[in-house]
């Protein structure tokens, strides 16, 4: 079963990286979302997976049973899911605004700001910053 989980994480990661390499902004963000989910699954599987015993200290005891489920990865995953979802939504909005402003979703054509200004080009490209 471990290999099955490992293959699932690998598939998520590979798909995510492939999508991320795209120049299309939306595809790139979907790739990032896939990657986030791959990482989340990785955390989830790195805890103990096989136990279904609830992690509750038995009556009268002071420590957990040895075969109790591990609750920590679920807490971590919950945090990571919330953050991942928020970041995906946020970058999606960024892409939407960038697409509206520049009329293209191709990340290479959105702005020539990070290209070195050549001699013949008018140096008026500087954005007003105050």
């Amino acid at each position: 079963v471990t290999y099955f989980f490992a293959a699932a994480v690998a598939a998520y990661m590979a798909g995510g990286i492939y999508m991320m390499l795209s120049r299309h902004a939306v595809r790139m963000i979907l790739g990032l979302a896939l990657l986030t989910n791959g990482a989340i699954l990785l955390i989830f599987f790195s805890g103990r997976m096989d136990s279904t015993q609830p992690p509750v200290v038995p009556l009268g005891g002071t420590i957990l049973d040895a075969d109790a489920a591990n609750a920590l990865p679920q807490a971590l995953v919950l945090t990571a899911i919330v953050i991942g979802f928020a970041m995906t939504a946020f970058t999606m909005v960024l892409a939407l605004v960038a697409g509206k402003m520049s009329g293209t979703l191709n990340t290479n054509k959105m702005s020539d700001f990070d290209l070195p200004a050549s001699k013949d080009k008018s140096p008026n490209k500087v954005v007003k910053s105050s």
């Binding site: 990032l32 702005s111 700001f113 910053s129 105050s130």
Partner: protein, 504 residues
Amino acid sequence: MSRDLAIVLPVLIPIATAAITACLWNSHVAQKRVGLVSLFALLCSSFYLLAIVADAGVVAKQFGAWKAPFGISFVADPLSAALVTISGILGFCVGVFALRDVSARHQRNGFHPLYHGLLAAVNGAFLTGDIFNLYVWFEVMLVTSIGLLVIGRTRDQVAGALKYAALNLFGTILFLSGVALLYGATGTLNMAHLAQILPNTQMSPGLMASAMLLLCGFAIKMGLFPVFFWLPASYPSAPIAVGALFAGLLTKVGVYAAFRVFTLLFTVEASGLRETLAVIAALTMLVGVFGAVIQWDMRRILTFHIISQIGYMLMGLAIATPLALAGGIFYVVHHIIVKANLFLLAGAIYHASGTHDLRKSGGLLRSHPWLAVLFLIPALSLAGLPPFSGFWAKFLVIDATMRDGAHWLAAVALLAGILTLFSMTKIWNEAFWKTPALVRKQPRRVPMAFVAPIAALGAITMAIGLFAEPFVTYSRAAAAVLVDTTAYVAAVFPAPAISSLGGM
């Protein structure tokens, strides 16, 4: 004030201010006042923390009184305390600069809550003792910094922010995967606990992959050689006050995380990364400095120099002797002050000459002579000329490299230093010395809110340069705590607990 509170305050103050300023959304004057008071309180509390750490060594705080490996701990060792203090100084100075630099439109778009949120995230990342918590602070830092980056809502800012977001998000995902593998191999996330377990663990493929993933994640955050492209795409488009804060703090959080993880959890020798790190450091120094040569916009030149300077810090980590680490720490402290100051100066020069393009400006030596003096201090310090702070920083790092026998790396560092001097000379010639293309009848005044923080940061640079001894001693003490992890572990696990928890 109790010692526990002192560790939490550098995060608590800005995060509370972010909430308060967000509540005062419609009143910019009130936001400004609350923000300034809070920045001053942050400055004081960070100095208080520094005093405690200098006095008592490493101090730790367990949240919710959960005993060490189970709860989240905050740890302040000399390195964290120094960086929190520097970010407090910088937050205050840039905050004063922002009084005039940040327009009403930027404030309407939420400048103040984002600014304080970013400071909280940076301090949280410096102070946390839990590696998953570090991930959370990274994400808080990322989302607030994107908010600040697109605050003007221009096309260049949004397009740059998209690249910044995508690459940095990728970096945090790599970091998160590394944390997952680390947790799978050791079953703990507390860094002090990991520091006890990992030296006794065989270096398995999973752990090795974890170390590599963490390094790649931090490399993107730092802007190291192959993965720095987000940096020149985004920083120069931001408003000057924002750019200065970014230039000073953001990449340095990545550097701090790498210093922490590759001394406390993994070591550079044991993970076999020394040669890789040394080569990456050399390439980062060279590529950054060559990238700056062809630029004509002062903000772009400075952005590429951030990349180049990160190489020097990484050099300290790659050599990893106590001397080299001390040099690296000294370098980070000096660099945060100098680089932010140069960004603020870029803003002042823009204000004085009316353009960011160096080819079009000029003659500032005649019209604003004191601005020229203020520029020379950080510029020569960045290039590493005595008696400024940069000389000592470069001297410590290169000296440690020579002692370790990596002469080629020292040679590359010196070459990058000369090229840095070339870039600074270019700014000097173009902006200050040459006759301007367009002579102004009335000189444009630079407001006091611009000059005061620039002068304050310049004074700190001079102080570090002229009275280097206490700073060097402090860096050596901080490096000693990094190399010998017992003090860090003992602060998180008070004495009797260590033996019983060690085998968990």
